[in-house]
């Protein structure tokens, strides 16, 4: 492993393919598709109803709580990643280590769930 980039060659290939697809498909569609524009077709389409007002509206604060909780649990996932890579070597000690860590966050999850912070209505 001479270069830090060696393990990332597959990632680079995927990124390249994804980018190439995203660029190529609209281009090919524009090239091949028949076109007959009309006034009705170029209107904004919003669920069949005529569009009202601006699309930039304020969102309810409940989205924000979900985002906050997402961050915290995402950080927890970051801690799981190196643990999973070393699972074999860490053995039962590592298992107990992570069990304590995860149990604390299960308490958090139970609290959040029962508190209703995840429920959409209300």
């Amino acid at each position: 492993m001479e270069s830090p980039l060696t393990p990332y060659v597959p990632v680079a290939i995927v990124l390249f393919l994804a980018g190439a697809m995203a660029a190529a498909i609209p281009f090919i569609a524009g090239l091949l598709g028949p076109r007959s524009p009309s006034a009705v077709k170029s209107e904004i389409f919003e669920g069949g109803n005529p569009p009202i007002g601006s699309a930039r509206q304020r969102f309810a604060v409940k989205f924000y709580v979900v985002a906050l909780l997402f961050i915290v649990f995402d950080v927890e996932a970051v801690f799981l990643y190196p643990w999973a890579v070393n699972f074999q070597q860490l053995g039962w000690f590592g298992y107990a280590t992570m069990a304590v860590f995860a149990a604390t966050l299960v308490v958090a999850l139970v609290y959040v769930w029962k508190k209703g912070a995840l429920s959409w209505e209300s």
Partner: protein, 519 residues
């Protein structure tokens, strides 16, 4: 892979924090699983948990000093006694909160859980011996106090206070982290012990880096301690937070931050001359003592006045910290002393031991006094007053002695104790602390402290004068009745007087606390 070998002995120092965390989890789950309207039981759980944790810590305080848990924490009497004080303050704050929240129909398990979490953070902060551990524990403490500050969100004041505290607190924590990162860059370790050992060489090579690291770490701590000139947030935050939370912040957060400050710098200056931190601590102490008391003078708002008073008290504590780093203290401890690695019971230099004793006794006195004083204010607040600007005006205390003589007497005791008037615990605390500072050769600073506190006495006596010599206004508030508030206030008042008259057993315990790991 090196699987560490941990024993029961390793878990001893963190046992009080463990008890607090378990209690907090029980409270969290009780809040979401039990749905009774009557929630005073939560305050009782909170109080009992804190008392149990305090008992565990007191048991630990008689253990010999040592490092534990792979060196991330230390077990020593200083941090364990500080945990006892924090638990005492937490228990009183839980009891005070019960009546306060009940009156506002805002009793929630999360509130007590956050109080216990912050106490756990304080306890862990006091024993941290490594920068990453220190930072994590500081954040546990800080995040729970931010949330507590903004707990009553109805009015604009709690929201503003919570926001200010959060922004400035996060800023100060990042200063501390930056300083720690610079010291890590200079020495290659985050463990206080290794940093201290590597610093002389690093200092010889890059003095600027070491100074910058010292300065940033010190500034981060000074924010938490609320020392002048890092005090700007204090009045607004203390005024806007729920009053029992203010009480906990002024006593507990400060206590934990002072211990962490002492421990960090004891290790850091091990290989260096303690002169620079000594000068910095002296300057902070002088500015805080004088500034806090002078700024308190024009305040008619009693809650705000107590916020400035807590700045002044931070100054007195920093006087003690400065005394620890004074040249005389270091000189008196050449053999087994302050700046060598192995502490030995009984051969502790007397000056340092008496400073530690003074610091602990002072914090004990300040904890019971501040909790009592803020508790009395909390009991006189009315829910419907929250939007009014004169909620905490001196006028509200006018004639309290005729209406409620017991409450007035308790408040008078707290005020006299804050001012350092005998026979209260506040007087003895100042006596021990200033005495130790004089022993350490800080005569000038001690005199300045005494003069500043004389100015403070005027502020505190004004409250007493209003209570005893002014007629009550027509709409004077009567304190609300809740047995928890009364238990907490009676306990604080009795402690303030009893410790002021009979300090013997407690000072006996604290004199052992001179044995500090790292000193």
């Amino acid at each position: 892979m090196n699987i560490p070998h941990l024993t029961f002995q390793d878990l001893l120092p963190v046992a009080p924090a463990g008890v607090l965390v378990v209690g907090a989890i029980v409270l969290l789950l009780s809040e979401v699983f039990l749905s009774t309207a009557q929630r005073t039981y939560q305050a009782v759980i909170g109080t009992l948990t804190a008392l149990l944790a305090g008992a565990v810590a007191m048991n630990n305080a008689f253990e010999p000093a040592r490092a534990a848990l792979q060196g991330y924490v230390v077990l020593d009497p200083f941090s364990q006694w500080m945990t006892v004080l924090v638990c005492l303050g937490t228990a009183l704050a839980s009891l005070l909160s019960a009546g306060f929240l009940n009156h506002r129909n805002a009793e929630r398990g999360e509130f007590y859980a956050l109080i216990l979490f912050s106490a756990a953070g304080m306890s862990l902060l006091a024993m941290s011996a490594e920068f990453i551990t220190l930072f994590i524990n500081l954040e546990v403490l800080s995040i729970s106090t931010y949330a507590l500050t903004a707990f009553l969100r109805r009015g604009p004041r709690p929201a503003e206070a919570g926001f200010k505290y959060f922004i400035l607190g996060a800023f100060s924590a990042s200063l501390l982290l930056y300083g720690a990162a610079l010291l890590y860059g200079a020495t290659g370790s985050t463990r206080f012990l290794d940093v201290g050992l590597a610093l002389p060489q690093a200092f010889a090579q890059q003095p600027g880096l070491v100074y910058a690291g010292f300065g940033l770490v010190l500034a981060g701590f000074a924010f938490k301690v609320a020392a002048v000139p890092f005090h700007m947030w204090t009045p607004d935050v203390y005024e806007g937070a729920p009053t029992p939370v203010t009480a906990l912040m002024s006593a507990g957060v400060k206590a934990a931050a002072v211990v962490a400050l002492v421990r960090t710098f004891l290790f850091l200056v091990k290989g260096l001359s303690p002169e620079v931190p000594f000068i910095a601590f002296s300057a902070l102490a002088l500015l805080s003592m004088v500034g806090g008391n002078l700024l308190a003078l024009p305040q008619r708002n009693v809650k705000r006045m107590l916020a400035y008073s807590s700045i002044a008290h931070a100054g007195y504590l920093l006087l003690g910290v400065a005394a620890l780093f004074a040249p005389a203290t270091a000189k008196g401890s050449d053999a087994v002393g302050l700046f060598t690695a192995t502490p030995l019971l009984g051969s502790m230099p007397n000056v340092a031991a008496s400073v530690y004793k003074g610091l602990l006794f002072y914090l004990l006195g300040y904890t019971v006094t501040a909790l009592g004083a803020f508790g009395t204010i909390a009991a006189l607040e009315r829910r419907e007053d929250e939007t009014r600007s004169n909620t905490w005006d001196l006028e509200r205390f006018a004639g309290l002695a005729q209406r409620k003589p017991g409450w007035a007497a308790a408040m008078a005791a707290f005020m006299l104790s804050l001012g350092g008037v005998p026979p209260t615990v506040g007087f003895l605390g100042k006596l021990y602390l200033f005495g130790a500072a004089v022993d350490a050769g800080l005569l000038g600073l001690a005199v300045a402290g005494v003069l500043a506190s004389v100015a403070g006495v005027y502020v505190y006596l004004r409250v007493v004068v209003y209570m005893y010599m002014r007629p009550a206004p027509a709409d004077a508030p009567a304190p609300f009745r809740h047995w928890t508030t009364e238990v907490a206030l009676i306990a604080s008042a009795v402690a303030v007087v009893a410790l002021g008259v009979l300090p013997g057993p407690v000072t006996e315990w604290f004199s052992r606390a001179g044995m500090v790991f790292g000193s």
